[in-house]
């Protein structure tokens, strides 16, 4: 009996969560403004309650999916009784309504955790942080309840079966990609709340940066993994072996990542040196605003994209209003309350401060570049100045040099000291790294391919420069210790986080450079017993047959692959699937992954004579792209767990509390 009213329970739970979010935002904010401890105390229990009720709603929707309750419109449109159980669970967020619910669940989750973790914060600060998070929750819960209710029913004509989940989304990459991405987007809301709370309370000191840093690192790490997974998913699931398309939706996730990266660095300066305060706050606001704007662009249908969800103008309008209110209000608060520059902290043009400022400048330029490229066609069109399409050439022409310049400074940054560094010392420490990086970068393409290649040299030199200067810094840090092991162990987790983060960038650059310069791609016609050679591998089709999967029919080819003259052989099985419920065909790529190369076989169309068009690709170092992303994220995670943020907190905060 209870199972039949689950959707209604879920709907009701969402309404209760909304009411709790209203209390969570109004009372603590008013309490902080009027100094009423009782009102402020509502924040944390309400945040917990709100989370539990959104969780209940989410669980109800999941249960409807698991039990194939096709009376729920959302389930009927996005699931099917033939769908394997794990895709039924992930289908919950494979559509607009469910993904906004997941988003709200995460927002409530971050708010709940922030409430528990930050109980040592000054009372008014915590009240403001939770109040602002509550306001954002109110916006999103209203959005769900008013425009995107996932619990709507198909009554009285209940469909016998569902329309199935889009086959593109039936994949492990998609099970984890959106949740990671949302965790990142939503995580920045906590940082945003900290920034606004600090502005409201006039407490823009080193302490707030100390509280905000772990949250920023955590959100950034999630976003990094999310973007890397998205790229990986596009690589093997969309079926044509690219890994970044400068698609508006990809750009929407890259924008907050770029400002988030800038934020991580500027928070370091603000904490250590007390400078760049206003700038840091502005970055925190910008990062969250860009997350929201990305959501708007994707869901409103203003931009067309592969990722576009079914769009509905009322939804677009709602998110736009939400976006406008959030961003405008926070920028007004910023304009009113940004700290007056009382005493400028002095630093030399060659110092870590200056280098981090340059890093921020470059990252913001990159953000602007991507933003402009994404919006420019729209703007021109609206002004009636003609229609253009901005494609990879624009982005690559600007983004590649910006990355190289950023990396140049990235090598110097960790070696430089705060306030002032002597140029001589820097040169003495790094000339060798620079020389070796350039030399190896120039030599490798010659040795590897017998032909010099400017792009490979540029990419490899950049990556080597980062790696070598980091090694040099590590070496300096440990060589004065009695043993290297002891020296290494004394380094803080935050430092290791930096090392991994930067190393990750280097690894990604190697991957991007090599795969874009040395990938081999051939389109061939194949039938049984036909053999072709691509990049030193022999591909022979041995078999071609039909098979039936859980919810699809497939043409499967078996390709035997042999490298050069070696005797080791292996098989690859590309497929062309036809999904039964939607009648949608899909290319299931056969991949042979490796640390140094991927082999990639995709089946195209059947040709008149019974043979098949096949695309065979050799992708050297392509794994490095995502490996680098994972390293960066791991760096972010390590930095979260640095003991400085836990140990020193009570001591500092009691001081703050007394003050």
């Amino acid at each position: 009996m209870l199972t039949r009213i689950l959707p209604e329970i879920g709907h009701f739970a969402l309404i209760i969560a909304l009411l709790m979010a209203v209390v969570q935002s109004v009372l603590p904010l008013a309490g902080a403004a009027t100094r009423r401890p009782l009102w402020m105390a509502y924040g944390q229990p309400m945040a917990t309650g709100q989370f539990l009720f959104v969780l209940l709603a989410y669980a109800c929707l999941t249960a409807s999916y698991a039990m194939d309750d096709f009376s729920v419109v959302n389930v009927a449109n996005n699931s099917n009784s033939l769908l394997p159980w794990y895709y039924k669970l992930s289908a919950v967020w494979g559509n607009h309504e469910g993904s906004v619910l997941l988003w709200s669940l995460m927002l409530a989750g971050w708010g709940c955790v922030a409430g528990w973790w930050s109980r040592r914060l000054p009372r008014d600060m915590l009240a403001r942080v939770l109040g602002i998070l509550g306001l954002i929750s109110v916006g999103f819960l209203l959005f769900i309840l008013l425009t995107s209710n996932p619990f709507e029913r198909h009554l009285p004509d209940i469909p016998a079966d569902g329309a199935d989940l889009n086959p593109l989304l039936q994949d492990i990459g998609l099970i984890i990609h959106p949740p990671m991405l949302y965790m990142g987007y939503v995580g920045f809301s906590v940082v945003f709340a900290f920034a606004i709370a600090a502005l409201l309370g006039g407490r823009l000191d080193a302490a707030w940066t100390r509280w905000a840093r772990p949250w920023t690192n955590a959100a950034w790490a999630f976003l990094t993994v999310g973007i890397a997974l998205g790229s990986w998913w596009a690589y093997y699931e969309l079926g044509w072996g690219g890994w970044w398309f400068w698609d508006p939706v990809e750009n929407a996730s890259l924008l907050p990542w770029l400002t988030g990266t800038a934020l991580i660095h500027s928070l370091a300066v603000t904490e250590k040196r007390g400078s760049f305060k206003s700038w840091t706050v502005l970055l925190a606001i910008a990062t969250f605003s860009l997350s929201l704007m990305g959501t708007f662009l994707v869901r409103s249908g203003v931009l067309t994209s592969v990722h576009a969800f079914a769009n509905d103008p009322s939804r677009g309008l709602f998110i736009l209003v939400l976006l406008a209110i959030t961003v405008t209000l926070s920028l007004i608060v910023f304009a009113l309350r940004a700290p007056r520059v009382s005493h400028a902290v002095r630093f030399n043009w060659l110092s870590r401060d200056a280098l981090l400022l340059i890093n921020n400048g470059l990252l913001v330029t990159a953000t602007m570049t991507v933003l402009l490229g994404t919006l420019y066609p729209l703007i021109l069109d609206s002004l009636g100045l003609g229609k253009i399409s901005v494609g990879p050439p624009y982005f690559n022409a600007l983004f590649v040099p910006l990355t190289v310049i950023t990396c140049l400074f990235m090598g110097l940054g960790p070696m430089a000291q705060w306030k002032s560094t002597s140029p001589g010392k820097l040169v003495r420490k790094l000339w060798l790294a620079g020389l070796v990086a350039l030399g190896l970068g120039a030599l490798v393409p010659l040795v590897y391919r017998g032909e010099w290649n400017l792009w490979v040299t540029l990419g490899l030199s950049t990556a080597l420069w980062i790696g070598l200067s980091l090694s040099r810094d590590l070496f300096d840090k440990v060589r004065h210790r009695h043993s290297i092991w002891k020296g290494l162990r004394r380094l803080s987790l935050a430092y290791w986080g930096m090392v991994l983060g930067h190393l990750g960038v280097a690894v990604t650059i190697v991957g991007a450079t090599v795969v874009s310069q040395y990938a081999v791609e051939r389109n061939v016609r194949m039938s049984p017993d036909i053999s072709v050679e691509v990049a030193g591998y022999h591909f022979t089709m041995t078999e071609l047959f039909d098979r039936r999967g859980a919810n699809f029919l497939a043409d499967t080819a078996v390709i035997e692959v042999q490298r050069g003259d070696s005797h080791r052989r292996f098989e690859m099985q590309p497929e062309k699937r036809l999904y039964l419920a939607t009648g949608m065909p899909m290319t299931q790529v056969a991949l042979r992954p490796g640390l140094f190369r991927d082999l990639y076989v995709a089946m195209g169309e059947e040709l008149d004579d019974g043979s098949w068009a096949m695309r065979i690709q050799y992708k050297p170092f392509v794994r490095w792209l995502w490996l680098g992303g994972l390293l960066m994220a791991l760096g972010g995670v390590l930095a979260v767990f640095d003991k400085r943020y836990r140990k020193t907190r009570p001591a500092r905060l009691t001081q703050e509390g007394q003050a």
Partner: protein, 175 residues
């Protein structure tokens, strides 16, 4: 800070952007097309994708109802809509492609891999014809009637539902 008022330019600038988004949002896609609707397909002269010596012009689209699909090898959504286009071709509808901002080699490889539903492909490497057609980005699909008049404009990816609910009814209407 002396120039604090300058900081207020930030929210103002953002509101400008939001207004711009609002304007885009309130534009009905059908309105945006009104300039082209019921007009002649723009005059053009180009070569075909398959043969650089074969010249074609707007007369290619006369005499029979044609779906004109703007695509490119570089375009992600184009690959996904190929099955739907093949399906339309199987239903006996004539399709003509506009190979938009692409190279001959890539375009032909694309057709080889994903199938070729097109009776012919107009090669448009510089995007001149696309410009005339008001193409914002591939893929876009036009229904052109037997007199060479544009009757319907579909922007973006053609899903199997779009085939059923939009393109087929339009084709029936103007045939």
């Amino acid at each position: 800070m002396k120039r604090r008022w300058l900081l207020f330019l930030l929210p103002v600038a953002f509101l400008g952007l939001a207004l711009f988004f609002f304007e885009r949002l309130s534009q009905d896609p059908a309105d945006r097309d009104s300039a082209l609707m019921a007009r002649d397909f723009p005059a053009f002269e180009a070569t075909t994708l398959a043969d650089e010596n074969q010249r074609v012009d707007q007369s290619l689209l006369k005499g029979q109802l044609t779906l004109v699909n703007v695509w490119g090898e570089w375009c992600a959504a184009c690959r996904q809509e190929m099955p739907q286009l093949l399906d339309l071709a199987d239903r006996g509808i004539r399709l003509v492609g506009v190979n938009y901002r692409d190279t001959r080699e890539n375009g032909l490889a694309f057709l080889n891999e994903f199938g070729d539903p097109f009776a012919a492909n107009i090669f448009d490497p510089e995007g001149d014809l696309g410009f005339e057609l008001g193409v914002i980005g591939a893929p876009e699909t036009f229904v052109v009637d037997a007199q060479g008049i544009i009757r319907y404009h579909h922007k973006g990816y053609v899903s199997p539902e779009d085939v059923r609910n939009r393109l087929l009814p339009e084709v029936e209407k103007w045939r």
